[in-house]
């Protein structure tokens, strides 16, 4: 089975700084890691390979240093990697990103399953997975917490929904996005790390993929970030006074007023 895992390199901190002019993240000087949700996607891909045979190809779109994230994925069991990197991709929103990924995956051609993390830690949108499925014209199953099995060209999964779990069957190929409950990602192995140091990772550019320049980068992205700001933190504390009886009554009244009880 040919499995493709999409991953993203993100800043290894939640305290990112914002470029006030472009309203984009300042990535310089911040340690980069694989988006934590994507590590579950890689692990699930490797587990399915171990269960059903085949190979796992990891794909990322990003600056040249995103190659480190791909090498890390190889150290935990991925077989091959493709880096999609071109200056013209800079500033792409999720729609443009999914366009580039779809072009890449079409070029890879052979695949039965595409796995993504549920969302990234930096953008937090969770949009690329479903957009990718739409562009490829294949089914999408979100928030998968367990792959029950694959047989007869079908995958059977459990997905997390608001109040429980849903069991879904989908024909292959399809795209799934996974949640952290699905597995515990393994740590790098010695053989994997040795392989990751020497693995050849091809870099595909816009022209390699037959990309329409109007659909990528800042100009090709319909999303425009107008302003980014931190939510105001307001705390309205009130100290109840008086006898215990009065305090309890006052508290109950307040809770009723605010429709808590």
């Amino acid at each position: 089975m040919k499995i493709i895992v999409c991953l993203k390199q993100v800043p290894g901190t939640t305290e990112v700084r914002i470029n006030k002019l472009t309203n984009t993240l300042i990535r310089e000087g911040v340690e980069s890691i694989i988006n934590p949700f994507d590590t579950y996607a890689i692990e699930e891909g490797v587990r399915l390979k171990e269960r059903y045979g085949g190979k796992v190809t990891v794909v990322t779109m990003g600056p040249p240093q995103a190659e480190d994230a791909l090498r890390e994925a190889i150290s935990v069991g991925a077989d091959e990697a493709v880096l999609i990197s071109d200056r013209t991709f800079a500033g792409s929103d999720t729609l443009a990103t999914s366009y580039v990924l779809a072009k890449t995956i079409t070029k890879i051609d052979e695949y039965s399953l595409i796995i993504c993390g549920r969302q990234t830690m930096d953008g937090d949108t969770g949009q690329v997975g479903p957009e990718l499925a739409q562009r490829l014209g294949i089914p999408f199953v979100a928030y998968v917490s367990q792959v029950e099995g694959i047989s007869g060209g079908c995958i059977r999964v459990q997905r997390m929904v608001e109040e429980g779990r849903e069991i879904v069957e989908s024909p292959l190929p399809c795209v799934i996005s996974v949640v952290k409950e699905i597995n515990v990602p393994r740590l790098p192995s010695l053989l994997g790390t040795m392989r990751s140091k020497t693995a050849r990772i091809p870099v595909w550019k816009a022209q390699d993929l037959g990309i329409d320049a109007n659909k990528i980068g800042v100009s090709g992205s319909p999303t425009h970030v107008i302003r980014i700001f931190y939510p105001q933190r307001t705390r309205k504390a009130e100290v109840l006074q008086g006898s215990l009886q009065d305090q309890v009554e006052a508290l109950v009244t307040k809770l009723r007023e605010n429709k808590v009880i």
């Binding site: 393994r186 740590l187 790098p188 192995s189 010695l190 040795m194 140091k197």
Partner: protein, 385 residues
């Protein structure tokens, strides 16, 4: 300190360190408390290829040397010696197979050990034969194409958990030490059962058990090397494994030092962190000096082994004695730095102190190792080699 490690050694160290920090340290207190064999961690170690380090390349290993193995053991021991001894004992038990095994024996077992599917154990000690291994009573009588084993081995690390046991037994009791042989016995062989599981002071995550042989029949093909070689197999095996035990002591002491420093910087008395008091500072510095000296010695001995030296009984013994004595002092001082808190099981240093004690005792008690060193020393009149 610059130890000039190569790229692969750096890799081994960082992989073992990550497992230690993410998988071992969070559960070590619980494993110790429950005296539970760390199967989940063993699986992590095998997935990370750490069992491949000490297996030759032609048997699906990485053909690593003594220093490679020492680095892995040192890092794991920084977290938990109960875990690291379960790992190191497999390396120990692989040595006789690698050194003296026949091709078929190696092909049958080594790839399985390399992948972590099979744990191994080395069984020498008996109730009446500890340092005095010539007093072994377990017998292996020759009968047709089989050996019939009878007797009881004691204090066997990985006992009950390992699939493969290298047992030193008397094939010709009349010949004394020259009548001992090394024989492979697989778990589940009829007549081979496990006795008492020891309740230990430290390294409580590891399994230490009796092996009981009652008319246990194994094929003669399971003999390692030739008959009468058992004593040599045991001595040579321990010579080679001793630097690993010394590395265990270094890692343990390192872990204790880190805990002591972190606590000293946090603990406030008389309005200041206790790390600002000279009495504490000097303790911490002495710990650090001793650890670095032990590490330098252990790495130097491991490199001596890797250089192809034929006889390194003296060097290996020195490393084991010095490093384990350092670990005992350092962990004891770590408890002292922690004060009353250090005596409590809520903090990791009391476990470290309990764990340190065994390193002075097993794989050759430090006293008997000094006995092994002195003939070499006298022979060369104390001069440097």
């Amino acid at each position: 300190m610059q130890y000039f490690l190569n790229e692969r050694q750096e890799m081994i160290r960082s992989i073992a360190r990550r497992i230690t920090e993410e998988r071992i340290i969070p559960v070590r207190a619980e494993l110790d408390e429950k005296e539970e064999f760390p199967w989940a961690i063993i699986k992590e170690l095998s997935q990370a290829d750490l069992f491949r380090i000490f297996i030759p390349e032609q048997y699906e290993g990485l053909g690593g040397g003594c220093l490679d193995l020492c680095l892995a053991i040192e890092e794991l021991s920084r977290g938990c010696c109960g875990v690291s001894i379960s790992y190191a004992a497999v390396a120990l038990a692989s040595i006789p197979l690698i050194k003296y095994g026949k091709e078929e024996q190696k092909q049958k077992y080594l790839p399985q050990i390399a992948s972590g599917k099979m744990l191994a154990a080395f069984a020498v000690t008996e109730s009446a034969a500890g340092s005095d291994i010539a007093s072994i009573r377990t017998s292996a009588a020759s009968e047709g194409s089989s050996y019939i084993l009878n007797g009881t081995k004691q204090f066997i690390t990985n006992g009950g958990e390992a699939q493969l046991y290298t047992v030193i037994a008397m094939t010709n009791p009349a010949k004394g030490a020259r009548g001992a042989s090394a024989i492979l016995v697989e778990k589940d062989t009829p007549g081979f059962t496990f006795g008492r599981k020891e309740r230990k002071m430290g390294i409580r995550a590891s399994s230490t058990r009796e092996l009981v042989f009652h008319n246990c029949r194994v094929p003669r093909d399971n003999l390692l090397g030739r008959e009468g070689l058992g004593f040599v197999v045991a001595i040579k095996t321990f010579d080679e494994s001793r630097p690993g035990v010394a590395a265990q002591a270094v890692g343990l002491a390192q872990g204790a030092l880190e805990e002591a420093i972190a606590y000293a910087q946090k603990r406030v008395q008389f309005g200041r962190p206790i790390s600002s008091f000279q009495a504490i500072q000097h303790m911490l510095v002495n710990m650090a000096i001793e650890i670095e000296a032990a590490r330098a010695l252990v790495y130097a001995v491991a490199r001596t082994v890797d250089s192809g030296a034929r006889d390194y009984t003296e060097e290996a013994g020195m490393a084991k004695v010095f490093a384990s004595d350092v670990a005992m002092r350092v962990t004891t001082d770590a408890v002292q730095v922690f004060g009353g808190a250090g005596y409590m099981r809520d903090y990791p240093v009391e476990k470290m102190m309990r764990d340190a004690k065994i390193i002075q005792i097993y794989e050759g008690a430090n006293q008997v190792l000094r006995n092994d060193i002195i003939p070499h020393l006298l022979k060369r009149k104390g001069k440097r080699t």
